[in-house]
Assembly symmetry: C2
Homo-oligomer: 126 residues x 2
């Protein structure tokens, strides 16, 4: 069970950043109307607003490098909580930004997949 | 509603670190048998094991300084997800450790309070 949670968490994170780095608009498929994103303290609700925020970030091409992934079963939801840390490389910038992409709280869909109910993003300034 | 979530998250974080810095053993009151802690990649389940891990950390006196708190309602659980970042000052050490204390997933108890269902801790090495 715990191994399955780790595997699901890792698969999700790989998929999420693959979409993010290839075409941010396609991330809308991973959010639903109830989804919430807190991005550097700013709140967005629903797939449309969340995707608009992510699409509007002031850079075009980027590449995420994931350092750590921690996943746990979220009792009472059938979901998973995932914490990710890593770095974000922007095209033309020499130094990557370090980030803590907390947390995803994933909930199961009726199709046996997961969507992002809760998403909190913070950069690390160090 | 959203303001209430922020206020609850902040109250919880204040309370948690107050207990942590005053007497780590007393944190057991905030966990239950189903609770999970992932501490730098190592998993612990249940209030007893979690408290043993926290009590056994290789320092006596410490003081947490919180930098950011992000809270969201966790749909389908009546709970709250909270992400905290900050630093940890150890007695006798000049330089604080930077941490990302993700995430708490708090669930309501039958007494109208909250307990920690999910807890993931990572230090930032920068």
């Amino acid at each position: 069970m715990e191994e399955q949670v780790e595997t699901l968490g890792k698969s999700f994170v790989d998929h999420y950043y693959h979409l993010f780095d290839a075409d941010r608009s396609s991330l809308s498929s991973l959010y639903q109307p109830t989804s919430m994103l807190t991005f550097e303290g700013q709140k967005f609700v629903g797939a449309a607003d969340i995707t608009a925020k992510l699409r509007g970030l002031p850079f075009d091409q980027c590449k995420h490098a994931v350092s750590t992934i921690d996943s746990q079963a979220a009792a009472a939801t059938g979901g998973i909580v995932v914490f990710v840390s890593g770095s974000l490389h922007l095209l033309g910038e020499e130094h990557p930004l370090r980030f803590s992409q907390v947390m995803f709280h994933l909930l199961p869909t009726i199709h046996g997949t997961f969507f992002v109910q809760n998403d909190i993003f913070r950069l690390n300034y160090g």
